[in-house]
Every structure is written in C-alpha cells, then in structure tokens.
C-alpha cells in the first residue's frame, strides 16, 4: 500500500492535481460562488486519473505483486489526501474571512455564499459527489473517465446551485449568516456533512473494489 502510494506520487499523478489546490484561494474572492473552488480541486484530481490512464498505470500496477484491492485503496487514498489538503486550505481561509477580514469592505453586502462552516460542509458534499460519481464510475471500466466526470460535473452544478439558493429562504437564512450566533448550528451541519463524506467515500470504495475485482483488463 505504501509502495503503491509512492508509485502514485512519482509515476501516475499529474502535477495539475497539486497546482489546482490553488483554487482553494477562491474562498477569498468577493461576490463569487466560492464553492466552485472545490470543483476545481476535483478537476485537478481528474487530471491524475487521466494521466494514469494514458500511462497504462492499471496494467503496470497489476503486473506487480500487489492486491487488486490495494490498487483501488491507493486511488481513493490519493484522492482523499488531495481533497483534505484542499479542505484544510479552505478552512484556514474561511477562518480568516470570518475573523480578521470580517469587516473588509469588499465582503460587505455579499449576496452569494459567505465562508462559514456551512460553506465547508458543502465543500465536503461536493467532494463526496466526486468520490461517488467520478472515482466510483471510473472503476466500472478502469479506463472510461469522460462520462463519470460529466455526471460529477452535473452533480457539482446542482450542489453549487442548491448551496447558493438555500439561504434565500427565510427559514434557512441562518445557513449564510456571519453574525456568529448561529455558528453552533452551522457546525452541526458541517459535522453531518463530514460524516456523509466518510460514509459515501467508504461506500464508493467498497463498490469500486468489487467492480475492479471482476474486470477483465
């Protein structure tokens, strides 16, 4: 598993997966749907899958004395490592906007989603959709990446649209408040989302493992 992860980093992954982590900086953009940053982080990971496919990474890996299930586990581990790095960056920048930059003029009267625990919850939901639809979809064939990424793209747009719309309903306005008094409730939302991320990713891993075992390559 450790050796497969090293193989992933040195041979299979694309530098774009790391470069696209810069998209976390979108958290600081005023008047912008900041959740798109999470989409671009996933787009960076997509490039590693594409690079691996063009490099015949699957065949090389299966000729090595490794378990097929470890190959699947490594792909998920790599994906989650990049996502959690992106999440950590988003979390730091969210904290910055909620504290030191809370009074900045550029962020006043923001009609779109503000950085908050709810924003971070939606980041994790978007990552969950990627793990389920793209990574899980990839392991149906171990080479087709177009349709799985299209499905994820559609899901991501729906998630962004929902995230940007919910707080306009008065009963749900607490989702976008930056006043601080609703931070506890927002954090509950984040905790539920984190649980969903873990559950969905694990489910996708289990399904992918079964699919990959049955594939003729």
């Amino acid at each position: 598993m450790k050796n497969l992860l090293i193989k992933e980093l040195k041979l299979a992954s694309s530098p774009l997966s790391y470069i696209f982590l810069i998209a976390a900086l979108m958290t600081l953009l005023p008047g912008y749907p900041i959740l798109m940053g999470a989409f671009f982080i996933c787009f960076g990971i997509f490039h590693s899958f594409q690079n691996a496919r063009e490099s015949n990474d699957v065949l090389y890996s299966l000729l090595l004395p490794v378990k097929k299930s470890d190959f699947v586990k490594t792909k998920f581990a790599f994906t989650c490592a990049v996502q959690l790095t992106g999440f950590a960056l988003c979390a730091v920048l969210t904290a910055l906007r909620m504290t030191a930059l809370s009074g900045a003029q550029a962020y006043k009267d923001n009609a779109l989603m503000n950085p908050s625990p709810v924003f971070l919850a939606f980041v994790l939901l978007l990552f969950s959709a990627f793990n389920l639809l793209f990574v899980g979809g990839f392991f149906k064939t171990a080479y087709k990446i177009g349709i799985p990424f299209l499905l994820f793209g559609i899901a991501a747009l729906v998630i962004v649209a929902v995230a940007e719309s919910l707080h306009f309903f008065s009963a749900l306005s607490f989702l976008n408040t930056t006043s601080g008094e609703k931070t506890g409730l927002q954090t509950v939302f984040l905790a539920l989302s984190a649980a969903a991320y873990c559950g969905i990713t694990y489910l996708s891993y289990r399904t992918s493992k079964k699919r990959f075992e049955l594939l003729d390559l």
Binding site: N3, I6, K7, K10, L11, A12, S55, N56, D57, L59, Y60, L62, L63, L64, P65, V66, K67, L214, D216, L217
Partner: protein, 246 residues
C-alpha cells in the same frame, strides 16, 4: 519439473470461446504459443496472469495456484505484453526505482548488468527508445527480480530482423540460466530458431502441445507441410474466394 501447468483453461466472451486449453512448461525450456491473429493467444496469457478471469480450468505456477497465490506467484514471474508501454514520459531510472520497491528479491547488480548488456540509457524515457529497446527494458525489469518464468505476449512483433535475432539470442541465453519462457507469436521463423516446445491454438481450441521437433515430424509424415509456416497454413487456410462469393 513443470514450472507452469495449465489444465482445461477456458474463457467465455460473448463472441469468442477459449476452450479447454491444456499444456505444461518444464524448467529451463522455451515454449512458443502460436496461432493466427484472434486465435486466443493473448487471452491465454492474460488468463495465466489473472489479468482476465478464466471461466474454468486450473493454473499452477511453481506449484502455486493462480489466482489463489497471485501475489507470491508474481514475485517469481515476469510478464510483458511486448514493448513497455507505460509511463512513456518518465525516465527509465524512475520507473525502475519505483518497481524495485515491490520486490524483496530485487537484484540491483543484475539490473545494472542487463542495462549494460542491452545498452540501455537510464536517463531516457520509453518514448525515446526503439520498440526493440523497450522490449529489452521490460525484460530487464522482469529479470532484475530474478523471475524464473517469463511470459511474453508477442515480444517480437514490430521488431526489425536484427532486433528480433538479438531478442531470440537473449531468450536462448536466459534458457541457459534456467529461466523458462513462454512467448506468443505468429512469426513461425522465431520458433524455429529458439523454441523447444510448441503450443498451437486455433479459433480458441488447442491443436497441439508438444516438443517442436515432434510436431514437425508428425505433420511432415501426415503431409501437412515441411515447415511450421506450411503446417500452420494447412490448418488455418480458408477459401477466401468462396467467402467473397457468399
């Protein structure tokens, strides 16, 4: 001692059936797996290596069950589908550095020796190598973990005559070192130069598996032809004019 035993290997695809293939390869021998394009050679080799799942039959390698003892078996054998076609833009030294991590029996001296013998430059990428050199790098990786059985899928396809001759000489050298080799080909002259045994598959079924000399003698006596090529044509040729007229 049989290093590879295949009994009743079958694989069912919607439009193709590999039907009950059986053969065995002894230690230090070279076996050619022949048949025309689409006969089932690659399916047979991939099934042996568990890259495709067999529908039936039994595979034993060094006495271990495939796929039951897959990890153990993979440390003992090397497989290549001809020229190396992975990580085309990575340097050979980077591919080798990662590969060696997976083998406890990796022999760095052997790796250096084969690099020198094959005149491979570690600073190059597979993309910068000729087809023949890429096959040699594949072999280098397999031999550096002291593989005792090499399974090669059409390693001589696409090679120029000189590279083919060099590769066949390499096979003969390795045989002298006790390495067993199973390689598929549809170039019959390759077999006549170096193979001890032959396994012949046509349309997914086994025609014969025996020592090459015996195969030639029996077929000459039956009037099927004098050379391997003539014998193969005898078994496989269809009346194309009749087909076109249909």
């Amino acid at each position: 001692m049989a290093v590879l035993e295949v009994k009743g290997l079958s694989k069912q695809y919607p439009e193709f059936l590999l039907d009950g293939i059986s053969f065995s390869l002894e230690e230090g021998r070279i076996m050619g797996l022949i048949g025309r394009n689409g006969a089932g050679k690659t399916t047979t080799l991939k099934s042996i290596f568990n890259i495709v799942h067999k529908s039936g039959g039994e595979i034993k390698i060094f006495g271990f069950d495939m796929p039951g003892d897959e990890q153990k078996i993979k440390t003992l054998i090397g497989y290549t589908g001809g020229a190396i076609n992975y990580y085309q833009r990575k340097k050979l030294k980077d591919i080798a550095a990662v590969t060696r991590r997976f083998y406890t029996n990796w022999d760095d001296d052997a790796y250096r020796r084969y690099l020198d013998a094959f005149s491979l430059n570690e600073e190059k990428t597979p993309l910068q190598l000729s087809e023949g050199m890429r096959v040699k790098f594949s072999l280098t990786l397999a031999l550096s973990h002291n593989a005792k059985l090499l399974i090669l899928d059409e390693p001589t396809s696409g090679l120029d005559p000189v590279s083919r001759a060099e590769l066949l000489d390499t096979f003969t050298y390795l045989k002298g070192k006790g390495v067993s080799i199973l390689f598929s080909t549809h170039i019959t002259s390759d077999l006549e130069k170096c193979a001890d045994d032959i396994t012949y598959i046509a349309k997914g079924s086994l025609i014969a598996s025996m020592p090459l000399e015996r195969f030639l003698c029996e077929n000459r006596a039956a009037g099927h032809g004098d050379t391997l090529e003539e014998i193969m044509v005898h078994y496989e040729k269809e009346d194309i004019n009749e087909k076109l007229a249909d």
